[in-house]
């Protein structure tokens, strides 16, 4: 009895014991495909030794350690590639804190289902990670230096969150939403695009070290636009503006600034949209589908190059609002046009039919691609500029 007790107390705690000293956190992971067809994995690890640097100065064991390390490996499956990292890394890789997943353009074009399967099945990965499709070299993105952040993984996550808050030009999703969208009828994936800095022999590098170098450091990435998919394969890139159209349709705009010229002097004004509501309703008549999209936005004036007096001249304000609405309509039209070109229903129009007219969807499902090509829009955009900022009219120069 004593023996059994001893056995139970000792052994139960040990099977799955994990010492934090033996782990290294992977903050960002990239997937690519080798020319041979093997999957390549690029892992960006956060070096815990770099943390001790700040506290104890140069004397610590981690004196001049870099905070980040990037390693790559390949294998026949994504998981094998991941496993092949082990012989190169002194600690056990720990994936629960992986917050961004980069997918190379090549892999995206050949199909991302294997990656989705791994991320969903494997117990360490968490579906709160954000997927990104990378234009350019993944390793370049992960190994770049991010002046404001400790390492690339943190930087990417923070930039995604900030980007989603400040602009609406990149469709930021979590893996959870991505898998959900992928499985829904009549809806194709749209994943945010991150573009690596173009590697070029910049003039600033040749100058002497010091202030110039800091000022001249190019931003390592640009976050905007997206990759539209057809099934699990990428069909093509979409631009910032088309991605914005997606945001209007989905009602996901949190903040976006639109700049437009107004009467009477034809000079520009910037309006920040801070609230958006949108509704989609499909009208199906045989094979002709019309999407009734109603968008209501609220905006505030951020700056005015134009000298129009919006406070006292109501017609200028009305014209501003009408032009805003037109601009938004054009965004949505541009997005649809791109969707038709790529034959990728990333706007989820088919899904709207499936949800609201399930019987008609059954008839249309098999030929949706043709239906999408002839799909028409019935846009009803209402823009209200409700806040003027702190001043009501431009300063009058005398």
């Amino acid at each position: 009895m004593l023996l059994i007790g001893l056995f139970v107390t000792i052994s139960t705690g040990c099977w799955d014991r994990r010492e934090p000293e033996l782990l290294v956190f992977v903050l960002s992971v990239g997937f690519d495909k080798e020319p041979s067809g093997d999957y390549k994995i690029v892992a960006q690890m956060f070096n815990p030794l770099a943390l001790s640097q700040e506290g104890s100065g140069g004397g610590s064991p981690g004196g001049d350690k870099k905070p980040s390390w990037v390693v790559e490996a390949s294998g026949q499956t994504p998981f094998e590639a991941r496993k092949n990292l082990a012989p190169m890394v002194s600690r056990e890789l720990f994936w629960s804190y992986t917050s961004t997943v980069l997918i190379s353009e090549k892999l995206a074009r050949e199909g991302i289902r294997p990656i989705m399967d791994l991320l969903e099945r494997e117990r360490q990965f968490r579906l709160i990670a954000r997927p990104l499709v990378a234009e350019g070299d993944i390793k370049e993105i992960l190994a770049s230096e991010y002046p404001l952040e400790g390492c690339s993984g943190q930087a990417l996550l923070r930039q995604l969150n900030t980007g989603d808050k400040m602009r609406s030009i990149a469709p930021v999703l979590e893996m959870r939403e991505l898998i959900n969208v992928a499985a829904q009828p009549g809806r194709d994936l749209l994943i945010a695009k991150v573009k690596a800095r173009e590697v070029k022999e910049d003039a600033a590098g040749d100058k002497e070290e010091g202030v110039d170098k800091i000022v001249a450091t190019q931003p390592p990435i640009y976050l905007g636009g997206g990759a539209a998919f057809c099934g699990d394969r990428m069909a093509g890139w979409i631009s910032d503006r088309e991605a914005r159209g997606w945001h209007w349709v989905q009602g996901r705009v949190r903040r976006e600034t639109l700049t437009l010229v107004i009467r009477p002097d034809g000079e520009p004004v910037s309006v920040e949209i801070f609230r958006v509501q949108s509704q989609i309703k499909p009208v199906v008549k045989d094979d002709q589908v019309t999407m009734k999209i109603k968008v209501e936005v609220k905006g505030r004036v951020q700056d005015q190059v134009s000298e129009a007096d919006l406070a006292s001249e109501r017609k200028f304000l009305l014209s501003l609002e009408a032009r805003l609405a037109t601009l938004i309509k054009n965004d949505i039209k541009a997005a649809l046009k791109r969707a038709q070109e790529l034959d990728s229903d990333f706007l989820g129009f088919g899904n709207a039919v499936y949800r609201m007219e399930p019987k008609k969807w059954k008839l249309l499902e098999s030929k949706w691609s043709q239906v999408l090509a002839q799909l028409e829009l019935d846009l009803d955009v209402r823009a209200d500029v409700t806040v003027a900022g702190l001043i009501k009219e431009p300063v009058k120069m005398k």
């Binding site: 099977w15 117990r123 968490r126 579906l127 959870r176 969208v181 499985a183 899904n351 609201m356």
Partner: protein, 402 residues
């Protein structure tokens, strides 16, 4: 045996925790068939189906408030058929306990303790539950009293935090494929309501046995409400397809969301709740099992049986299902439906028939002999047994290849 009593409130807590735990662990309304976004409707259907089972079990028990099924089955269909009936009920309790604890083990092995052998996890849980069962139903009931508020708190916390993320469009279209997928989805969770067979042993222990049926129905209503909410939340956040593909959808849900940057990884909350609920459930099942077996064998005390049964339980739980796929296959409607129907046909249907005939007989001729009622009971038992095959065929025809 010493007479022990528990309050109806405590019975309610026990039944609620037992049922809620299993139905949300792998969310059979969603995963066992193709109900998809209509899982919440299936959960409503489940409530109706389970209510029938509860009424079957508890209403008969309430007619014999001082006896367990072992005793009143002997009275209704004579000694040996009565023992067969008791054996079926005991077998049912044994299987249910083993399967429940296996599901819990699988969650832990999948999500947390990947290297730990199943036998250790299951053995640990069964051992703790057996200790509680050895102490008697009063102790289990008091533990249920203590754990119930925590259980509810964990559930409310984990659900409350995720509710804002629900997207209604994931639940559309509603009932677009007609009624059948919903019915298919509700069969397995209804079958799981066979857990309520513990009532056949517990009713004599309750202070107000005639209100036991109401108590059980309230417990069922409560857990069905939780089930509906969990189904809505899970599908609303993960989407119908992703949720149905998951082995443990609610667990997947809680680990794949980020409430804020600082509040994430809330999967510990439901895991705690499951641990509590499962402990209460297993302890109650082992107690009922040992108590019933002791009565069948004519023993004076059930306690010597508790630990041997617990050992058997652990072995059976590990061995009965080869792997998680087999466990999941067991919960397909076409497997679990007929299986659990068989339990009822062999136990409660003949008892009800005998009871019915006996009361009719009794009212028609005063002082009519029990003997005739018993004979009729036996005949009806054979008849209901014969109806098993056609009933299963009917279910298969109705459901197609679910």
């Amino acid at each position: 045996m010493k007479i022990t009593k528990i309050a109806n409130r405590q019975l309610l807590f026990i039944l609620f925790m037992m049922r809620t735990t299993v139905t949300i662990a792998f969310l059979p309304v969603l995963t066992s068939a193709d109900a998809a976004q209509d899982a919440w409707v299936a959960a409503l259907f489940t409530f109706l189906g389970s209510a029938v089972i509860v009424i079957l079990v508890a209403a008969l028990g309430a007619k014999y408030p001082k006896q367990t099924i072992v005793e009143y089955s002997t009275a209704l269909v004579s000694t040996w058929p009565g023992k067969v009936v008791s054996a079926v009920v005991l077998w049912a309790l044994f299987t249910i306990a083993a399967t429940d604890v296996r599901i819990y083990g699988e969650v832990l092995v999948t999500g947390f303790l990947v290297q730990t052998p199943l036998a250790v996890i299951i053995g640990g849980m069964v051992f703790v539950a057996a200790v509680a069962a050895w102490q008697g139903i009063e102790v289990i009931a008091r533990v249920a009293d203590t754990l119930f508020p925590l259980f509810v708190l964990m559930l409310v916390l984990s659900l409350g935090m995720v509710v804002p993320l629900v997207e209604i469009r994931n639940l559309q279209p509603v009932m677009a494929r007609g009624l059948l997928p919903v019915v298919r989805g509700s069969i397995t969770p209804t079958a799981i309501a066979a857990q309520m067979l513990v009532l056949t042993m517990l009713i004599p222990a309750v202070t107000e046995p005639n209100r036991a049926l109401a108590t059980a129905l309230w417990a069922l209503a409560g857990s069905s409400l939780v089930l509906v909410v969990v189904a809505v939340v899970t599908v609303g956040i993960l989407g119908p397809e992703q949720a149905s593909r998951s082995v443990f959808p609610f667990y997947v849900l809680t680990r794949s969301i980020e409430v804020t940057e600082f509040v994430q990884r809330i999967e510990v909350l439901p895991m705690f709740a499951w641990g509590f609920g499962l402990f209460i459930g297993i302890a109650t099942l082992i107690y009922s099992l040992a108590y019933g077996l002791a009565q069948v064998l004519g023993l004076a005390d059930y306690r010597p049986l508790v630990f041997p049964l617990a050992a058997l339980q652990t072995t059976f739980s590990v061995q009965a299902y080869k792997d998680v796929f087999e466990l999941l296959r067991f919960f397909k409607p076409r497997v679990v439906g007929p299986y659990i129907l068989a339990w009822f046909i062999l136990s409660l249907f003949p008892l009800w028939a005998a009871h019915f005939i006996r009361t009719v007989w009794g009212s028609r001729r005063q002082g009519g002999s029990d003997g005739q009622g018993r004979v009729w009971g036996q005949i009806l038992a054979v008849f209901s047994f014969a109806s098993y095959r056609p009933l299963c065929d009917y279910q298969h025809r109705l459901l197609g290849s679910a």
